[in-house]
C-alpha cells in the first residue's frame, strides 16, 4: 500500500468537519513525517487514536470541540438512552423476580432480609414501600445467577451519571467541583437527610421490636441502606431539585451571572434526573402489572401469601406500583397522568436549559 493511500485512509479516521479544516495540512505533515523517517506503527496508532478522539469530541459527549448547545443536547439525549437501557435492565430484573412470592422463606435468607426491610417500612409513608422492589429484584437476580443483568444495571447506571454530568453546560468529569458539585449536592443532600430520618424509624421497627435472627436484621438493614439510598437520590432528590429549579426559573434574569449559570446546570440536571425517575416508575409499574394485574390496585388479592410479615390479603402492595398509587391515588389513570406530567415537566426543563445554554457565548459557560 502506497503512503498516499495510507494517508488517505488515516484521514478517514477523522470527522469530516475536522478534515475540512485541518485535512490538507495534516496530510502534508504526515508526508513530511514519513519522508523524514518517522513512519512506524506508533505514528499510525497516534493518528488513529487522534481521529477517534476527534470523532467522539465532535459528537459533543466529551471535550470542548462541540458547541455548548450540541453538548447539552447530546448529553441529554445520551442520558435518555442510558436511562432507557437502565430501566430495561431493571425490567428484566423484575421479570426474574416474578416468582418471588413462591419461595420458601426458610431457605431464602436474602429474601427474608428483604422482607425484614419491608416489615420495617410497611407502616411508613406509602411511597417508601416502593423501594422494596429494588432489593427484591436485585436479590432474585443474584440468586438465580443473572449476573449479566446486574452488570447491565450497574453499567447503565454509571452511564447515566456520566451523561448527566456531561449534559450540564460546561460539565466535565475532570472539571472543578463547582461546575458539577452543585447539582450533585442539591440532589444528594435532601436524600441523605431523609435517609437519616428513616433509618431511625427502621431501627425502631426492625431492630428493637422484632424477635428475629440477628443475621436477618443485619442483612435487612444493609440492603435497606444501600438500595433505598439509591431510590431516595433519584426520586426524592429529583422532586426537591425540580422545585428549586422552578423557583429559580421564576425569578427570571435578575439573578447574577454566576447564579444564571447554576440555574442552567440545575435545569439540565433536573431534566435528566426526573426523566430517568419517571421512566423507571413506568417500567416498574409495567413489570409488576405483567406479573399480577391486581398490582395496580392498592390492595393485594385475597389469595396473596404473607411473606416475612408483609403482604397477605388486604395488605398494601410493595413495589413501584404501590409507590405510585400511594402518592397519586388508587386509580391507574391518575397515576399515569401524574407520571406523564412529570415527564413533560422534565422535558420542559430540558428545553429551557438547552435554550438558555445556547443563548450564551461558549466562553462564558466554562
Amino acid at each position: 500500500v502506497s503512503d498516499d493511500r495510507r494517508i488517505r485512509r488515516a484521514l478517514r479516521c477523522y470527522p469530516k468537519a475536522w478534515r475540512d479544516r485541518y485535512g490538507d495540512e495534516f496530510a502534508a505533515l504526515l508526508t513530511d513525517t514519513i519522508e523524514g523517517g518517522g513512519r512506524g506503527i506508533r505514528m499510525w496508532w497516534d493518528v488513529a487514536r487522534g481521529g477517534f478522539v476527534a470523532r467522539v469530541e465532535t459528537t459533543g459527549l466529551v471535550g470542548d470541540a462541540a458547541g455548548v448547545e450540541r453538548r447539552t443536547k447530546v448529553g441529554t439525549m445520551t442520558a435518555f438512552c442510558a436511562a432507557a437501557v437502565f430501566v430495561v435492565a431493571l425490567g428484566f430484573g423484575a421479570l426474574a423476580a416474578r416468582n418471588w412470592r413462591n419461595f420458601p422463606l426458610d431457605e431464602q435468607g436474602e429474601r427474608y432480609g428483604m422482607h425484614t426491610v419491608g416489615a420495617g417500612m410497611s407502616d411508613w409513608a406509602p411511597w417508601m414501600r416502593g423501594a422494596q422492589g429494588i432489593p427484591i429484584a436485585a436479590a432474585d437476580a443474584v440468586r438465580i445467577g443473572t449476573w449479566a443483568i446486574c452488570a447491565a444495571v450497574v453499567a447503565a447506571f454509571g452511564l447515566v451519571i456520566v451523561a448527566w454530568i456531561r449534559s450540564t453546560p460546561g460539565g466535565d468529569l475532570r472539571a472543578r467541583w463547582h461546575r458539577w458539585g452543585h447539582p450533585a449536592l442539591a440532589v444528594a443532600g435532601p436524600a441523605v437527610l431523609f435517609r437519616l430520618a428513616t433509618l431511625v424509624q427502621h431501627v425502631q421497627r426492625t431492630w428493637l421490636y422484632q424477635d428475629d435472627h440477628w443475621a436477618h436484621r443485619f442483612l435487612g438493614l444493609t440492603w435497606n441502606w444501600w438500595f433505598v439510598a439509591l431510590f431516595d437520590v433519584l426520586y426524592l432528590g429529583a422532586l426537591v431539585f425540580a422545585m428549586v429549579s422552578l423557583a429559580r426559573l421564576a425569578r427570571g434574569v435578575s439573578l447574577g451571572r454566576r447564579l444564571r449559570r447554576v440555574l442552567r446546570i440545575d435545569a439540565a440536571a433536573t431534566a435528566a434526573a426526573m426523566t430517568f425517575t419517571a421512566g423507571a416508575v413506568i417500567v416498574w409499574v409495567a413489570g409488576l402489572y405483567a406479573q399480577a394485574p391486581d398490582v395496580l390496585r392498592d390492595r393485594l388479592p385475597p389469595n396473596a401469601p404473607t411473606v416475612g410479615g408483609v403482604g397477605g390479603p388486604g395488605e398494601a402492595v410493595p413495589g413501584f406500583g404501590g409507590t405510585a398509587i400511594g402518592l397519586f391515588g388508587s386509580s391507574r389513570v391518575s397515576t399515569m397522568a401524574v407520571i406523564g406530567l412529570v415527564l413533560l415537566l422534565g422535558l420542559a426543563l430540558g428545553v429551557i436549559g438547552v435554550r438558555r445554554a445556547a443563548s450564551r457565548p461558549r466562553h462564558q459557560l466554562t
Binding site: 495540512e25 502534508a28 513525517t33 487522534g50
Partner: protein, 108 residues
Amino acid sequence: VENDLDGLGRYAGPATLILSSLAEGAKHGYALTKDVEAFAGVTLRPGTLYAALSRLEAQGFIEAMEDEGRRKPYRLTPGGAAALQAQLAAQRRAAEVGLSRLHGWAPA
C-alpha cells in the same frame, strides 16, 4: 495554582511545548515537531500535535496564517503568550523548590 493551559487536560504538556516553539516565530506542523524535538527531546507525533493545535486554536492561543502550499503556519497570539508565561512561571517555581530541596538532600 491553575492557569489556562491546565484546562487542556492531557494536552497541556504538548501545548506548552508548542507555544514555546511558536514563541520563536511562526511554524507549520513538521517544523514544530522538529523544533520541539531539538529543544526538548520530545517527539510530538502527528495525531497528538494536531489534537493540541486544534485546542490551542479554539482557545485563541494560536492563529493560522496564510497557507504555504499545503502547509499552514501558526503563530502565537497575545493570549497564548500570557498563558505560556503563566504556565512556565508555575513550572519554574516548582522546579526551583524541587532543586533547592534536592540540594539539601542526602541519602539516609
